[in-house]
Amino acid sequence: MLRWRPAVLAFALACIPAVAAAPGQDPDSPEVQAAARAALAHSKILDIQGITLGIEAVLKDLGAKVTATEIKIELDADVLFDFDKYTLRPEAAETLRKVGQAVAGYPQAPLLIEGYTDGKGTHPYNMKLSENRAGAVKAWLVANAGVEAARIRTAGWGETKPIAPNTNPDGSDNPQGRQKNRRVELTLRTK
């Protein structure tokens, strides 16, 4: 009778595949395709930390407010646009490129772009100007940062949602307050 030494037995066992039989070797067979679909339930996908940190640096540069559910970026309209215009200034590209990098890091997240004006001018005029400015930022991100248009919604709120007083308590003009109100806000819904 053949007697197996432990070392020989271990060697023989090593030659047997350690896992159950793999599905057929034809990758296009229905069997393999079904196995792949079933395997999705426990797939292994990791975050790449370096790239995540890269986005974090970009968000920091932009002064973004990051919460568990959204990322809010507030851009000074005076940096993006000339007074009373909705054509982007050439200097806006650097800021918008960073916005594009941040948005690219969250390829599934919907993006809301909202324009705001200060309290000068008529309400209809301000509404239109803020809508157009939000639209200009959207158009830039679609054309230059590869953001899908379908992900982006825009809105213009004119002077209706100030974040600072447009006038001082004595009724005089408040240029600093008005400057804060002239802005474009981007909200990325990350969850």
């Binding site: 070797q25 990758p27 296009d28 999705l40 292994k44």
Partner: protein
């Protein structure tokens, strides 16, 4: 030992890289997304005038093959018994192919697919430099 095929069928090549295995070149021939699964095929060719070997898997290093897209890293899918959805290694955890001059061997693997808005991926292998910006074909 993996089976090899002598006749190189005309298959479209998405990218080609030299490998670190003497005499072997690698063609990326398929990157297909269907029902959440990304199917990848790479054709290894003996471009030398002498027989050459290519070792695809060594010590079950399946996780040395992965796809990156955006800020994610996607590994080869495994079934519920832990079997990787790629040609199976032998009992020693190796998969290699002996190729005569002009012979080729096509390796494949199934990965979880990146989201639909991702149109290109990078494929990492221990055998060659990264295959970058490989376009995904949706089916």
């Amino acid at each position: 030992m993996a089976q090899t095929a002598p006749a190189p069928a005309p298959v479209a090549t998405l990218a080609t890289e030299d490998t670190n295995q003497p005499g072997i070149a690698a063609d990326f021939t398929e990157c297909k997304r269907k029902e959440g699964v990304l199917s990848v095929k790479i054709r290894f060719r003996n471009v030398s005038s002498a027989p050459a070997a290519v070792t695809l898997i060594n010590a079950r290093n399946y996780e040395a093959y992965y796809v990156t897209a955006a800020n994610k890293k996607y590994f080869i899918l495994k079934d519920s018994e832990g079997v990787y959805l790629t040609p199976r290694a032998d009992g020693f955890g190796s998969l290699s192919a002996q190729l005569a001059p002009g012979d080729q061997y096509t390796w494949w693997a199934k990965f979880p697919a990146p989201p639909p808005d991702i149109k290109k991926v990078t494929f990492m292998t221990p055998l060659a430099p990264p295959f970058e910006d490989i376009p995904i074909t949706d089916q």
